[in-house]
């Protein structure tokens, strides 16, 4: 009897181990071709939010309906953890066929050989010529093309029409100098009203650079917008000093003191709750501001990006798109999915519902873009000589390191630990050394 019970226990233990092992194996097995021939693709997004996930799912349902035998599972990690997760999937070589590639991740992903080069495929797509020149050009590097953009993130100035009018101005500011003038006039801390939603926290360096580029636009290398045409960095240009002095004066004269730590959420909240009159942001904020219960539709609008002393602005277009994993076992179907998502109808819908500058030629003529807060984007698109699209070196390996350093320096200036000229010297030295090492 004892032996029997003991044997039973041993068998149970062995069975448990086997079941656990099988479960582990099952968990490790990626999706793929089913026995009935159905191909199952795994798609991973990076800039996740619930409404966007729902929209992508709807587009995927359309794709599945058009392509019987192909199903797509959408994986939506939280935004903060998405890129590391995508990286792990790519490194493991399983679990991902189609993925969201950003201009800040494409360098590392392609350098490690994790992305499929789409350049031979895209030119044969019937809808390829529908894409704007920007969309076609922006993802091509050294003859390779690792993703197709789904839209662009560009800056525009959100402003309070009522506050600008009350302060005695005819319209929104067109230049950085005018912004300083208007924001300073509106600033009234006693009434909890501030001129400008200054970004001193995470990614605060971006607007500093945008101002410097506007001041150096005439000599700017538009293909590498941290450099002038003579090869020196933009931070060494004499105009850069004027740019940072004007920009940081916005903090001194026209911003809440706590903006030292303001990141994206605080800036947007400051504008949507009616506390600040001006906000420099991507168009994705349009949808958020439109939902504000504090300011009404006729109290705000957008204006084109601010110009420098020569009347020109540099628009640093940021982008992201869809790519295919090199290790995908179903590349043919994965490429087909990227082609579908880049088609005129899905791409336009995706851009509109995510407040993105569209990739489809002529989509900007849609009434959606020519009215209301979107009209400033049309203005900028129609006047490329004034609003010059520039490419920042966001794909370099040190981009994140640079962002962290630059953010810390911006806060050091705001706290009085560093002067603006020390900041420019430090940034110039940093990029000069990096460029030299690269060359």
């Amino acid at each position: 009897m004892t032996r029997t019970r003991s044997q039973t226990r041993t068998r149970i233990a062995a069975a448990s181990t086997a079941v656990a092992g099988l479960l582990a194996l099952t968990a490790c097995t990626g999706a793929g071709a089913a026995q009935d021939g159905t191909v199952n693709l795994q798609m991973v997004e990076s800039l996740t939010n619930p409404a966007r996930t729902e929209l992508i799912r709807e587009l995927l349902d359309e794709f599945e309906a058009e392509n019987p035998g192909v199903t797509v599972d959408l994986v939506s990690p939280p935004t903060d953890q998405a890129d590391p997760k995508i990286q792990q999937m790519l490194q493991a070589g399983t679990g991902v066929d189609v993925l969201e590639v950003r201009d800040s991740t494409v360098g590392a992903f392609s350098n490690n050989g994790w992305l499929y080069d789409l350049s031979d495929d895209v030119t044969g797509w019937p809808g390829w010529d529908d894409l704007t020149d920007n969309a076609q050009a922006v993802t091509e590097e050294d003859g390779a093309r690792y993703y197709v953009p789904y839209g662009f993130y560009g800056l525009s100035l959100f402003y309070r029409t009522d506050l600008v009018e009350e302060a005695g101005f005819d319209g929104p500011p067109a230049s950085w100098e005018e912004l300083l003038e208007q924001a300073s006039a509106i600033q009234d801390p006693q009434q909890n009203t501030y001129g400008y939603a200054f970004r001193g926290g995470l990614n605060g360096f971006g607007n500093v650079v945008a101002a410097i580029e506007a001041y150096t636009i005439d000599d700017l290398d538009v293909e590498d917008a941290f450099r002038l045409e003579d090869g020196s960095t933009i931070f060494a240009a004499p105009e850069a000093q004027d740019a940072v002095d004007t920009y940081f004066a916005l903090f001194e004269q026209a911003s809440p003191p706590s903006a030292v730590s303001w990141g994206y959420p605080e800036m947007v909240e400051g504008f949507t709750n009616g506390s600040t009159a001006f906000l420099l942001q991507d168009p994705e904020v349009i949808a958020t501001v439109a939902q504000s219960t504090t300011i009404t539709e006729d109290q705000w609008s957008t204006a084109p990006l601010l110009t420098g002393p020569t009347g020109k602005a540099a628009q640093p277009l940021a982008t992201a798109g869809w790519g295919v994993a090199e290790a995908s076992e179903h590349q043919e179907e994965a490429i087909k999915l990227v082609e579908f998502l880049s088609g005129a109808e899905p791409a336009t819908r995706f851009a509109q519902e995510n407040s993105l500058v569209p990739i489809i030629d002529g989509a900007g003529e849609d009434p959606f873009y020519s009215e209301g807060p979107w009209s400033s984007y049309v203005t900028m698109t129609e006047d490329p000589d004034t609003y010059v699209n520039v490419v920042q070196p966001r794909g370099v390996s040190w981009w994140t390191e640079w962002g962290q350093k630059a953010d810390q320096d911006v806060q050091a200036v705001l706290l009085g630990d560093m002067t603006t000229s020390e900041l420019l010297d430090s940034w110039d030295a940093y990029w000069t050394e990096k460029y030299a090492a690269e060359e």
Binding site: N111, N112, G113, S275
Partner: protein, 328 residues
């Protein structure tokens, strides 16, 4: 029934005598053999049950740990994972020579001490308050212990908004109470930012101390306290002469655990200030996150290993000190 089943003392003695009479010498090897074979089967059974857990722990805890340790000695960068050459102690040298290192080390010390001391004191007081029986004590305990169930990152996000100078509830309450005239830039002022993140962490960590200390307090015998009271010992005397010595081990271990966790916890700071303003709340683990975000996994792993070494040394000294106190 009992005598029949398990045998009386007399019957057991009789059986033993009979065994000896049958020749214990001849029987011993067989018994040893049976015990041995039974033991092996038993061991296999235990091992079989434990194996999934062992595999799980090894695979998900120790393997990543060893892999991380291994990365600390290589140039392991996201930018090019096809080449990760051995660099020996270079990553450690880079970290130690970085001017950020002394800053984050100092901030970490302030963060740990500033968090643990108030957590211990307030947690102790909360536990003492909950020790007494009163109506709805269970509900009150649940409310007090609730923060421990919330993610640290979420706590950081909530406090980020609460400490917002213009829109936050903290300044609003302080101004309504007349404590301040103008909003305090909690997260923008270097000195205040560290105070704000520590306050958030104190709120978060008090619960753990309260739970542990309350559990320990339940073990203090009522009779001893009553006897001390009859002998004339006052509340303070009973607390320091009876209660604290009784729960001393729990207190010491709880402090040790919280020091380790606080040292290792970047989430509240990361969510509230991101280490700012200008690095004033940057601690060693937010520094590690920064390297991870850069893709410099070799450097991040070196920091991770260094943190582990520091905590190991701290634990050793702490436990030795505790042992000496106990011996006294």
């Amino acid at each position: 029934m009992t005598a029949t089943t398990f045998g009386s003392d007399g019957a057991r003695a009789e059986q033993a005598r009979a065994r000896r009479a049958r020749g214990g010498q001849a029987r011993a090897p067989r018994e040893r053999l049976r015990r041995k074979s039974f033991g092996r089967r038993h061991a296999l059974t235990i091992l079989g049950f434990l194996l999934p857990a062992i595999v799980f722990v090894c695979w998900f805890t120790y393997f990543p740990m060893l892999q991380g340790a291994h990365m600390a000695f290589r140039d392991w960068n996201l930018w090019d994972l096809t080449s990760t050459p051995w660099v020996g102690l270079a990553n450690f040298a880079t970290i130690l020579s970085d001017p950020v290192f002394p800053v984050v080390a100092g901030n970490t010390a302030v963060w740990v001490v500033g968090s643990i001391v108030p957590q211990l004191v307030i947690g102790f007081l909360v536990a003492l308050a909950l020790w007494r029986r009163f109506r709805l004590r269970g509900l009150y305990q649940a409310l007090v212990f609730y923060p421990w169930a919330v993610s640290g990152f979420l706590v950081g996000m909530l406090f980020r908004w609460m400490f917002n100078a213009e829109f936050g509830v903290v300044n609003d309450l302080l101004m309504k109470a007349g404590a301040i005239e103008a909003p305090l830039p909690w997260l923008a002022e270097p000195g205040l930012a560290m105070v704000a993140v520590i306050m958030a962490n104190v709120w978060y960590g008090v619960t753990f101390f309260a739970i542990m200390i309350l559990a320990a307090l339940q073990s203090v015998p009522d009779e001893v306290l009553e006897a001390a009271a009859i002998d004339g010992a006052g509340t303070v005397r009973r607390l320091f002469s009876i209660v604290i010595p009784y729960i001393w081990t729990t207190l010491a271990l709880t402090v040790l655990l919280r020091v380790i966790w606080t040292f290792n916890s970047p989430e509240i700071i990361y969510a509230m200030t991101g280490g700012g303003p200008a690095g004033r709340t940057h601690i060693i683990t937010t520094w590690m996150i920064q390297y991870t975000q850069q893709g410099s996994y070799g450097l991040a792993s070196a920091i991770g290993l260094a943190v582990m070494a520091v905590l190991f040394v701290f634990c050793a000294f702490y436990l030795m000190a505790m042992r000496r106190v106990n011996e006294r």
